[in-house]
Symmetry: C2
Subunit: 138 residues, 2 copies
DNA sequence: ATTGACCTTGGAGTGTACTCAAAGCTTTAT
DNA sequence: ATAAAGCTTTGAGTACACTCCAAGGTCAAT
């Protein structure tokens, strides 16, 4: 079990951030010690890693909350709802991947163009590089 | 040339947003009409599309500004700097793609598990699905 | 000529996601 | 035993990215 400072350290976030996420129901302390200190187990560590990743790719804390609340439960009456919600998110993720692939290709073009050929710099900005990528990729 | 309302409409953003981006040097009006109205050409449209995409995958306006300012210029003395900056961004993008791929696989697992097999729901949350994906993908 | 939809600027207000400070209790180290 | 570091809560402050409002000028249609 980790104290809040230990967990914060492992994740490179502040203790304030962990308390903020608790307040907004993204995580909760596994238990409290006799003196009232928050104690966390590895599951919370894992959830936090998920949250940090999801934030990094542009999901808001609300959206992350939605993602975390996805439960495929045999007994659930709302299985169809869960499925359609998850499918929506899947499509969002696919869209993000497609956009990032465009970025990647254009950045790669820039890297290749720069300092590569001495004589010609065919792409002089990320926009002109994107133009090339857009043209060939779609 | 488009007036601000026309451009905003094409992009599904507000005119306030366009003025906000101008104030923060992400875009600028191509010219002004005699009466002081902002007028935009297709280049600005393209830049805005880039900004919207980049925002969608988690880049801040400051980072987007950095991306937009990448210029591979034969005459530039800082070609090496540009190259290394671009390579850094490329790595960031690759990282984001890798994380999204994890998300994608785990969401796909959830979609498949839900309402698919009548008897078994092997993955009951995005976290347990992610566990499976992490284990097999890395 | 006047109504309504559009544009201008400047400045205030909002939501999200932290971040810091105050006042006080607990633990660890010297 | 005392100081430093770490924990608690509550509440205020900050940065980012808009979003809205006020006061006024412009344009197209009736």
């Amino acid at each position: 079990m980790y104290k809040i400072g230990e967990l914060a350290n492992m994740l490179s976030v502040s203790t304030d951030t962990l308390r903020y996420y608790e307040k907004h129901n993204l995580i909760s302390a596994t238990t409290r010690s006799a003196n009232g200190y928050r104690l966390y187990n590895d599951e919370v560590l894992q959830i936090m890693q998920f949250i940090i990743r999801a934030k990094g790719v542009g999901f808001s804390l609300n959206e992350i909350n939605d993602l975390l609340s996805i439960k495929v439960d045999k007994a659930s009456h709302s299985c169809a709802e869960v499925k359609s919600f998850t499918e929506d998110k899947l499509q969002q993720v696919n869209q993000k991947i497609a956009e990032l692939s465009c970025f990647k290709d254009s950045l790669q073009l820039l890297v290749n163009a720069c300092c590569g050929g001495d004589e010609e710099a065919t792409n002089c900005s990320i926009l002109s590089a994107l133009e090339n990528v857009d043209a060939t990729n779609q």
